[in-house]
């Protein structure tokens, strides 16, 4: 692969501009032509090699990927999302919109990583994005030639067909557009081999950000004795102090930072988390943070996670999140080599990298003079400082003394250059006149500061505009939080330190520690800035694109178009132009976009509105959010006591809620394993002709105790329970207040004041909550205690004509009809285990449900299997059970779909008219009495052989439509072993009034069309003789 990085090509202009003897420091480090000879926080004894788009490059420990690329003279890092414009590094932090790269390979590949925050490590493999076929030659850049044709809202206007035409042009173009769009690409291998952890923590004071304000706040709170968590997204503490060479209390800033860090480390109740981004601020002071434990390593150390999610509940929060510098909107301000002034100082002072050889600094903020001084100190020529302010302040004097030209009352109107980056700027006096060209390979923009109010905004308030700062600052607190330092507009270092100390002390006091008095602030010598004059955008002199949002390729012209077309409020502006909608959430773009819109609308900036910030502050990986809850750990798994036996006997499993249930038990037939149809039919036939057993432990089980149990049953079931005798069971149908069926089950009276009831597997939790709700909130006068006992009992259905004979071999009590008639309950020992035996049937055969304590469940199951060997006893699974209940027309989950009444299910006669119960008034609603309602029927294929399935539409005639009026749908279907052909249950308009009619069951999705005959839902033994057989 040819390295696209060609220093001569990509940086030729810069190299030729500066005379070699003028910059002895710049070209010292071998292979890193832009590494400064001195300074920085990089470790020159630890060189690292890495790859960018395949090219082997070198850097130093302590570099970010961006600083290492710049050290190598790589300025073209990616291409933009829409126009595929060549882009470089704009910032030195997490606000970076441009320098998005893919890191690592295979299953560890991670797209859209900001090169400015990715720490360099040995062997790092990075690739550029949005380039096809390569970074240097990109076909997508053709979009740039078409740019006049691709304004904001282009996709909506051009491709969305008018309603009703069915297929707009979008349908045709979408696949081409989607291929060219999108950020990055997904990994091409999986699964992610790394582990992700989660931790919860309670703290008195959480401090977000470890710059001067955050460090000061943590010190103050820690000294007061509070439990403090200090988190910072960077690998090193210090924040803005890493950027500038400052003096605090008479010593270098890094010495002050080191002293602060060591004092914090000595405090037992203070935790400091570097490489940790607090990304979400939620209700009740709950915050989430992600710690990048091993992102700076080739792979995690053994038994260590890649990342760790922190879930933090804090009594008090101090937001010391700093501020982000704003770019300035002028023509072609996106050329590689145009960067934030603060970023240029960071590359010079922290990373010892020259981001260029010959700089022009531009801005209405005195940071431009600090920047020119920093660049000059590093041996970089500062060709000119362009100050739009008419009068320059004292800060200019130093720059002028350093040999830089100061152009007051001037602006940069355009950056000139090619794909390799900026080669010159066009400078024009604001008063007018001819533009002037100044050669340079670095343009630093000092557009003023935007406090990082994201987390504060997430906590509730809207940010408010501060006219003096020309920025949004935090609004009045809604939660227990306060902002400190640059995050609330205190940009100067001395102010940051004092503000942080005060905030930390106040937060500690609010949490119950200390007296709230701030420690004495350290002394910082600073010059006072001249008044800041924001310059939101520089009008174009024709030509070039003026970018507001670099990541989304939104220009000042797009904002103007949105204004002309009426998308004027900030929320409309965002959605129409996509301003601020990228992965960077417009950190460098939003305020400029608002200011331009405000100017167009002749409104003050806050009159346009502010955007709402939402989590996450920076992108968070799914791995961190999922943590350990992946694969089998995604949900808890509920297994019955007999689970292992099912698996050992060839049963595939089906999830039912959190339960795993056996579907059928595969045997071998003719030298091969049975199909599922063969297995389930064999099991059902055995139950109909002999005996089978089924594990029904997953049914919900609830015990009710108290003198008012019968009254409760009468109120929550639609059928009556006053006559339920001790030792008897009864079917129960439970409704919701609106008259629709909630659930069904059996209700057994174990004693005068003691009831045992079952629910369906799916509704066990819902029914329990339903009963508890009525008992506590609606009828507190009822003396009943409800307890869920689902897991205390193993339930085994013993079903079939030989079930009594089998049970008699194991029970120590008479299980004959006299002592245990249909719907009777007795206590007995089964295989030596105390059991409750219920004479109830779901299959339509004589059947018993044996309940034993769960720890004895497997023993009783195996005893039944052994005792029934001569009867050819078989276990049967869900499929055979479902087949038999469909043959019997018993409603189950698909029929209890929350839309059916008792009458719809053919159980209208159960509904008592002698009592009030939940749902009775609801049943009076006219819609529930409509004779055309869809009601339960049976369907048989007219040819007695075509297969049916659930979810087929039932229609009068297959040939009509679409549209074709539907009469209903099939709910369940099975191959009936008793009848020898398929049957189905269906909900059909008119119900049994259609008995004998010929209809069609159709499935337009699968193309199935079956003529069917409407029958009663019970296909087998409608008289119920077999229950006693």
């Amino acid at each position: 692969m040819t390295p696209p990085v060609d220093l001569a090509a990509s940086h030729g202009a810069g190299a030729s501009l500066a005379p070699r003897d003028a910059e002895p420091a710049t070209h010292a480090a071998a292979h890193q032509p832009f590494r400064l000879a001195r300074g920085g926080m990089v470790d020159r004894s630890r060189p690292l090699t890495f790859r960018f788009d395949g090219a082997l490059l070198s850097g130093l420990a302590g570099d970010s990927l961006a600083s290492a690329l710049l050290a190598n003279g790589v300025r073209l890092v990616g291409r933009s999302f829409k126009y595929h414009r060549p882009r470089g590094v704009l910032t030195a932090g997490s606000e970076e919109p441009n320098a998005l790269v893919g890191l690592r390979r295979g299953a560890r590949f991670e797209p859209n990583t900001r090169a400015t925050v990715a720490e360099l490590f040995e062997g790092l493999d990075a690739v550029s994005q949005h380039c096809w076929p390569s970074l240097g030659f990109d076909l997508g850049a053709l979009n740039a030639l078409l740019a006049p044709l691709i304004p904001a809202g282009f996709y909506y206007k051009t491709f969305m067909g008018p309603r009703g035409t069915g297929t707009g042009p979008w349908m045709f173009f979408e696949r081409f557009i989607r291929r060219a769009a999108g950020l990055g690409r997904a990994p091409d291998a999986w699964p992610d081999p790394d582990a992700y952890d989660q931790r919860s923590i309670h703290v008195d004071v959480l401090v977000v950000g470890a710059g001067p304000a955050g460090l000061a706040a943590a010190l103050a709170a820690g000294r007061a004795g509070a439990r403090v968590l200090l988190a910072d997204e960077q690998s090193a503490l210090g924040g803005a102090l890493l950027r500038d060479r400052a003096t605090i209390d008479g010593r270098p800033a890094d010495a002050w930072v080191a002293a602060a860090a060591s004092e914090l480390a000595r405090m037992a109740d203070v935790t400091v988390l570097p490489r940790t981004t607090v990304f979400g601020y939620y209700d009740h002071n709950f915050l989430s943070a992600v710690e990048r434990v091993a992102d700076h390593l080739p792979e995690p150390e053994p038994h260590r996670p890649r990342q760790r999610l922190w879930q933090i509940r804090a009594q008090q929060v101090v937001l010391a999140t700093g501020a982000v510098e704003r770019p300035i909107v002028f023509a072609d301000n996106d050329r590689p080599g145009v960067m934030l002034a603060s970023a240029a100082r960071t590359y010079v002072n922290r990373y010892a990298v020259a981001p260029g050889c010959r700089a022009v600094v531009f801005g209405g903020h005195d940071d431009e003079y600090r920047t020119s001084a920093a660049l000059a100190a590093a041996g970089i020529t500062v060709a000119a400082v362009i100050d739009p302010r008419a009068a320059v302040g004292p800060g200019a004097a130093h720059a002028r003394a350093g040999g830089s030209e100061i152009l007051a009352g001037h602006v940069v109107t355009r950056a000139l250059g090619g794909a390799g980056g900026v080669r010159a700027v066009e400078v024009t006096a604001r008063a007018g006149g001819a533009p002037r060209r100044i050669d340079c390979d670095l343009v630093c923009m000092a557009g003023g500061w935007t406090p990082v109010v994201h987390l504060q905004s997430q906590s509730g308030p809207k940010p408010v505009w501060d006219q003096a700062l020309a920025a949004f600052v935090p609004g009045a607190a809604r939660q227990a939080e306060r902002s400190a330092g640059a995050a609330r507009g205190q940009i100067a270092r001395s102010a940051c330190l004092a503000d942080g100390l005060a905030a930390g002390a106040a937060a500690a006091q609010a949490a119950g520690f200390g007296d709230g008095r701030a420690p004495t602030a350290p002394s910082v010598v600073e010059s006072e800035d001249a008044p800041f004059e924001p310059i939101w955008h520089v009008p174009s002199r024709g030509g070039g694109k003026r970018f507001v949002d670099f990541q989304d390729d939104v220009t000042a012209e797009d904002v103007a178009l949105a204004e002309r077309e009426g998308f004027r409020s900030v929320e409309h502006l965002k959605r129409y132009t996509t301003l601020g909608m990228g992965t960077d959430q417009g950190k460098t773009a939003n305020v400029n976009g608002l200011a331009i819109m405000a100017e167009l609308r002749k409104l003050p900036i806050p009159g346009v509105g502010t955007t709402t910030f939402r989590p996450p502050y920076t992108p968070v990986t799914w791995g961190a959010l999922a943590g350990r809850e992946v694969g089998l750990h995604f949900n808890p798994i509920r297994r019955t006591a007999i689970h292992d036996w099912h698996v050992a006997n060839g049963a595939p499993l089906q999830t039912a809620g959190l339960w795993l249930r056996p579907r059928w038990y595969v045997r071998r037939r003719n030298g091969r394993p049975e199909t599922w149809q063969e297995a389930s039919q064999r099991e059902a036939v055995q139950v109909r002709n002999g005996v089978g057993i089924c594990d029904v432990s997953t049914l919900g089980k609830i015990e009710l105790q108290g003198p008012d149990v019968i009254e409760l049953l009468n109120r929550v079931y639609c059928n009556g329970f006053s006559t339920l005798a001790v030792g008897k069971a009864r079917y129960g149908l439970m409704l919701r207040e609106d008259g629709l069926v909630l659930d069904d089950g059996t209700v057994a009276r174990l004693a005068e004041d003691r009831i045992f009831l079952t629910t369906t597997t799916a509704n066990a939790i819902k029914v329990m909550q339903h009963l508890e709700y009525y008992l506590q909130v609606v009828w507190p006068e009822l003396r009943v205690q409800a307890t869920s006992v689902t897991e205390q009992w193993t339930a085994i259905a013993v079903s079939g004509p030989q079930s009594r004979a089998l049970l008699a071999r194991l029970a120590d009590a008479d299980v004959g009809d006299a002592s245990l008639p249909h719907m009777g309950v007795i206590h007995a020992r089964v295989a030596g285990v105390p059991a409750r035996i219920f004479r109830i049937s779901f299959t339509g055969e004589r059947a018993f449900e044996v309940n034993v304590p769960s720890d004895r469940g497997l023993h009783v199951w195996e005893a039944l299997m052994a005792a029934g060997k001569d009867m050819d006893i078989m276990p049967y699974g869900l499929e055979a059970m479902g087949t038999m209940r469909i043959e019997k027309g018993h409603p189950a989950g698909a029929e209890l779909d929350g839309r059916t009444t008792p009458d719809d299910l053919g159980m209208g006669r159960l509904v008592s008219t002698k009592k009030e119960f939940v749902g009775r008034r609801g049943l009076e609603r006219p819609g529930l009495k409509d004779p055309a309602r869809q009601k339960l029927v049976g369907l048989m294929p007219a040819d007695r052989q075509s297969r049916l399935r659930g979810g087929m539409q039932v229609v009068a005639d297959r040939k009509v439509g679409p549209p074709n009026e539907t009469l209903g749908h099939t709910t369940s279907s099975a191959m009936s072993p008793t009848l020898g052909h398929p049957v189905a249950l269906a909900l059909v308009s008119g119900g049994l009034a259609r008995r004998g009619e010929r209809l069609w069951a159709v499935s337009p999705v699968t193309g199935m069309e079956v003529e069917v005959e409407v029958t009663a839902p019970c296909f087998v033994d409608p008289e119920g003789r077999r229950l006693h057989g």
């Binding site: 209700d283 709950f286 509730g460 909550q769 508890e772 709700y773 609606v778 507190p780 009030e916 008034r921």
Partner: protein
């Protein structure tokens, strides 16, 4: 994530609770004799207030008590948590259980 102070168990994360519904509605004592409006108010009609609102939550992963929670829907502030025993009884709350 809300922090709800169960009178029985103490402050616990929202994840331990199940939201049940509006805590201001009352079930008519005589559901069959109740007027249409009274009945519909119980089953279907719910206000969506901006500001303080009484809601019922169940401490499902704790003591399984139903709680009457006064929560400000705008600020998410929880002003009061009390027993919901009898909260849907007409004519005001019946005697609540003590903490």
């Amino acid at each position: 994530m809300l922090l709800i102070a169960c009178p029985w168990c103490g402050p616990r994360d929202q994840t331990e609770y199940t939201f049940v519904g509006d805590g201001t509605v009352r079930r008519p004592a005589d559901s069959l004799g109740a007027g249409e409006t009274e009945w519909l108010d119980w089953v279907f009609i719910r206000d969506n207030p901006r500001g303080p609102h009484k809601e019922i939550w169940q401490h499902a992963s704790g003591c399984r008590r139903f709680l009457l929670v006064t929560r400000d829907t705008l600020t998410m502030r929880i002003e009061r948590v009390e027993s919901a025993v009898g909260a849907a009884v007409p004519g005001g709350r019946a005697q609540g259980a003590a903490a």
